[in-house]
Symmetry: C2
Subunit: 321 residues, 2 copies
Amino acid sequence: MKALILLRAGELSLKDVPLPERKPDEARIRVHLAGICRTDLELYGGYMDFSGILGHEFVGVVEEADEPRWVGKRVVGEINLPCGSCATCLAGLGRHCPNRRVLGMLEKDGVFAEYLTLPLANLHEVPSGVSDRQAVFTEPLAAAWEICEQLHILPTDRVAVFGDGKLGLLVAMVMRSLGVELTVVGCHEHKLDIVRQLGIETVFADRLDRDRRFDVVVEATGRKEGLEGSLAHLRPQGTLVLKSTLAEDYALPVTPLVVNEINITGSRCGPFEPALRSLAEGVIDPEPLISAVFPLSEGIEAFRKASENGVLKVLLELPGD
Amino acid sequence: MKALILLRAGELSLKDVPLPERKPDEARIRVHLAGICRTDLELYGGYMDFSGILGHEFVGVVEEADEPRWVGKRVVGEINLPCGSCATCLAGLGRHCPNRRVLGMLEKDGVFAEYLTLPLANLHEVPSGVSDRQAVFTEPLAAAWEICEQLHILPTDRVAVFGDGKLGLLVAMVMRSLGVELTVVGCHEHKLDIVRQLGIETVFADRLDRDRRFDVVVEATGRKEGLEGSLAHLRPQGTLVLKSTLAEDYALPVTPLVVNEINITGSRCGPFEPALRSLAEGVIDPEPLISAVFPLSEGIEAFRKASENGVLKVLLELPGD
């Protein structure tokens, strides 16, 4: 099969490789659509020292599995493969298993290929009303819903999302559904437009009133300036959600956190069920985030496109049958 | 009256000064006992650029007030003097008022003197069963109770307190009352002894099992190594309470906070009511933390003593009548 392989940092290659071997607890899935995520670009840059087939956002169809009820099902899949037997797993924190493998990131080939394998325990069937172009957003949308799994955000809260990238906009869509007083702070007219059309207030970062304070700020810029701005616009005893890892090292100053009694919550992967429900029920429609769709055969060009400034989601499409 | 005055960083002086002028909403209070806090030592070192009468922990008796019901009452007092009219105050966050003055720290003379003045709104009457030597701990004990005001700590949580200083031990006494599985991590045999005698598990920082993980860690060392250790011993999705400002600058690394979905809560001043109740009901007895008591006339020597390694609370006693 064709697959987009990261040989080493900075070296991507489209290759013919054998079909992945399926273990008894796994499904073999034919990929329909796959999404390029910022993490993929970082892996390309050397993050986590990964080599292998890239990609972790996908929607596809199960072609082979020991449990017959899965065969033929359209699925999305969780990306963490926990060991299932360590103390962390037994405490119900499998997504944080210290021995976990991670799809397309850590000791497990990813989804930028015609086929992938994944444990049945990781699969979620996609409801029929959800299109492939929506379902491929399930993983990042689950990461957005994770905020609500971690925090009780009040419908009366003033919430700001810093960042108008893919994740920031998905977080904004989730926050919009909570009834909160929501502001998205960004830098790109055409990106802010997407949420402005949903009735959400948007503001350019350099035009945000200095004195404006929020109860909750979600930092989704992944940049030092975004993190500094997020902290500057939190009220005392407010909550900062760290939704992005930072490319640069950053010294989070400790004393103001204590003096202003700030709460911080780091937030990563999330639950697939609410993500799929919000897609199925039409609460959230991520399709406007799609900037371009490439065939897998043009995967390297797709990667180049995804790394351009101003581009949102780039998808890889696999040939249908 | 006699008062211990910080002239500038590093320069303390015992002086005769006029009685403080009392405003209509204030009480004039004759000090019985005052406590030297780590913050006082930091102010002495130049923190906040304060000059004036030092000190914010006290117990005393109201000698003069416009409301007669306060006169003769034994009181302790909250240290933040909010403006009462800004948006932060109106939101009920007076302790975080951006225009606040702070007793013995910021534009308000403190308590290392024969008399102080404080708004009646800041006063709390001390229940009769609570001794002066207990009541003088109300302010730092309130700061320990603040953790429970901010977080829902479960009785089944594994909680570690890092730091066996005054604040760490008070936090340990509060945590002990919550039914949690509690460990105090410290460096001083005789300090750890105080909480060990209360049945609390203690361990030397360098002997803490590397693999040990806690649901909640309270960092009360105020040192970089303590903060690093606190983070290293948190479980994924665990909560770190920052109870101390750090003397040094420290780069709190952002990426592990996101990857391990860590929660951080900065914690400062707290509610006096539960502190007084826990003293009155005998839930907490801070007296074993007293290392030495000096008359105010030996205030400079008391300060020297308080800054010695291994010393816990040093009190200043005012002459009775």
